[in-house]
Symmetry: C2
Subunit: 409 residues, 2 copies
């Protein structure tokens, strides 16, 4: 698997202190799926009464665990639930054997954890096209269920890493109806960050009581504004999976209009999403791209993603070059409406271009100084309407080529 | 402007011998637009009776010369025509001053060459956002018109280069109605190949007699199958321009159904398009991607472009890694229909994957050997329908990062 890559320069200082979530127990184990000498399997058990919601990759070549989750996610059996996750093998593009491996694992977890198999959700991340050695995972299930206990977030976040350079977690506590509701989550990956290693995985837990349709709608809406607004390389995984469980153990009930909960969960998800970008392969700069004044929110997002995915914009950022001409190019090619002569472009607070040309006040030295920062903002106002969107990305560096071109060498 | 990059390893051995085209005269000059010590302006004059067709970038932030060409292209004045092209400055995102520069130049060429200004087409390639020093070009117009002469294709191809590493030309002769018709063309760039340097430019000439609507429809259709099927980095220029002039001087008339002409022109355009890919920034591999069995031609093209633009596929090719999992990923994310279990993937003639898994006959050593080649073919059959498309691209290497991240340093 080559040498462990160095920790991303954009990584947070340390793993955060996450609140325990009543009704959620975690365990990790080393099953040797592909890696040796490290934990590579994570099991989460949710107490009876829990609801589960999920959002999955839209790839037409979805992996076997994703297809299984999708088939189960709309069920609303309150018998409890389990999430079983392995790193090292994505069980993607593995034909009928892939589905059989999922069935074998979910059946075994159901038996070990005392749940119906329809309440066991799995996610796999790692190499594509190789059969999942599911018997190695099954051999560790008794150990895993014996070890289930509250907390242990960092160990869980580490167990699901592939080529991630740091474990990713975020949490919050919020008052609902006079009770304290906890939210904790972990994530791995960075889009299709990793060579052969497809996947972004996100697992979120709360002890609020949330009916499944409400939970699903909140999660889907927030995913659209967080995880669906990040990009490292524009390459979409075959395995992207976000699962959220709500145990209800806090006794606080959340409805569709419980804004405090929605806001807290949104912050947790955005934090995790941004951590994924901060671990983008080869990343040296964290970049926020905001487009305003578009004819609609979806058009704003299309422009923002065109900028965030442009290899020429991303290499310019790597080179600390305030190359606004490439931003103009990316807006022009996005396919969404734009008027060259109404564009205003800012790097940070520096107005770079407006009215179809470089701004009169533009100071190239100031812009060059700004580009040396590690956290950058690019803003484009289209001057057409009220649509706005923000997305997050990183730069494109030699590190990305090293990791992805030289991986098997 | 930094050191001249080395000639692409994928470049042809030498500039081809192109046939003169009766009714077409060329001249080049050194105007010092940005470069010193080299020709940077090209003038082509087409005899009275010529028709002109063109295809332009669809960017919403099109450059001033493109907007001017678009406004003129549908005109069918047989007074003759001229193409004036400069390298070093794209006259893009230059506000009202950009349009004024185009007007000044076309007016001056009209006077010098004895043509109406509405028959003078210009194209500019180079840095975005800086005013075009059009007076430097005007100062060379008398020299240019005095120097106009048949032939001189290689000098013309060199005069329009920016960061291209070799001049690009292609030509053909074909019998139409018992007469010999000549076709010659030149091109520069490679999508938005170049830092700050927007542009692919293509100029084609024939001495066939072709009515403008027929010429326009042939050129548009062939551009869709040639230049619109190449990609280096997925970044679309603000200045892409293809102009074709037909002088009629051979006396041979071409109609919409003159297949020999259409075929010969198609070969010339494909040759030029592939030369542009062969000069892709940092390219070390030339890659043909073919998708068959799609539900439509446009869906096939969407899959093929998703593969050809995927940074993970392109870095795998750079690393000589037969990473078919990334091809599966790119098909899955394209947005066009695909069925994981019907996919068949080939690298060259080697069947890599089929029926949702790696092929039984797959020999990884043979695939690894194949990937060492400089000319590669990736084929995907979707097994859904009759739609097919082929696109051409290159790999993504450290050279691309060097050129685009380190450009201004």
């Amino acid at each position: 698997m080559g040498a462990t890559p160095p920790r991303s320069p954009l990584a947070p200082d340390r793993f955060p202190d996450l609140p325990d979530v009543a009704g959620v127990e975690l365990a990790v184990a080393s099953a040797g799926v592909r890696y040796a000498g490290r934990d590579d399997v994570m099991l989460a058990r949710l107490a009876p009464g829990s609801t589960v919601a999920g959002v999955f990759t839209r790839s037409a070549t979805r992996a076997a665990p994703v297809l299984d989750c999708e088939a189960k996610i709309a069920g609303d059996d309150r018998a409890g639930a389990a999430f079983l996750v392995n790193a090292g093998n994505a069980n993607a593009f593995t034909g009928k054997a892939g589905a059989a491996a999922v069935d074998a694992l979910t059946g075994a977890v159901a038996e070990a954890a005392g749940l119906p198999a329809r309440r066991v959700f799995t996610a796999s991340t790692g190499v594509i096209g190789e059969p999942l050695p599911h018997e190695r995972i099954r051999a560790r299930l008794d150990t895993l269920t014996d070890a289930l206990a509250p907390g242990g977030w960092e160990a869980a976040a580490r167990a699901i890493m592939t080529t991630d350079t740091f474990p990713k977690g975020a949490g919050a506590q919020v008052e609902v109806d006079g009770r304290t509701v906890s939210i904790s989550g972990i994530a791995k990956g960075s889009g299709m960050i990793a060579p052969d290693m497809a996947t972004m995985l996100v697992f979120l837990f709360t002890d609020a009581a949330v009916d499944r349709p409400v939970l699903q709608s909140i999660v889907a809406e927030l995913a659209d504004r967080t995880f669906n607004c990040i990009t490292v390389d524009g390459d979409t995984s075959t395995s992207d999976t976000l699962l959220m469980g709500a145990t209800g153990a806090s006794g606080a009930r959340v409805w569709a209009d419980t804004h405090a909960f929605r806001e807290a969960l949104g912050m947790v998800m955005l934090d995790l999403a941004q951590q994924v970008v901060r671990d983008g392969e080869g990343a040296t700069k964290f970049v926020e791209v905001t487009v305003t004044g578009a004819t609609s929110r979806s058009d704003a997002r299309r422009h923002a993603m065109s900028i965030a995915n442009s290899p020429l914009v991303k290499t310019a950022i790597a080179g600390e070059d305030a190359n606004w001409g490439r931003v103009v190019m990316a807006v022009g090619k996005s396919g969404a409406p734009a008027d060259r002569d109404l564009l205003a472009i800012r790097f940070g607070d520096i107005l770079v271009a407006e009215k179809g040309w470089v701004a009169e006040s533009y100071d190239e030295a100031a812009a060059a100084e700004y580009m040396k920062g590690q956290e950058l903002r690019i803003s484009v106002d289209l001057g057409l309407g009220e649509g706005r969107a923000t997305v997050w990305t990183c730069d494109l560096t030699h590190g990305y080529i090293d990791i992805n071109a030289d991986y098997r060498s």
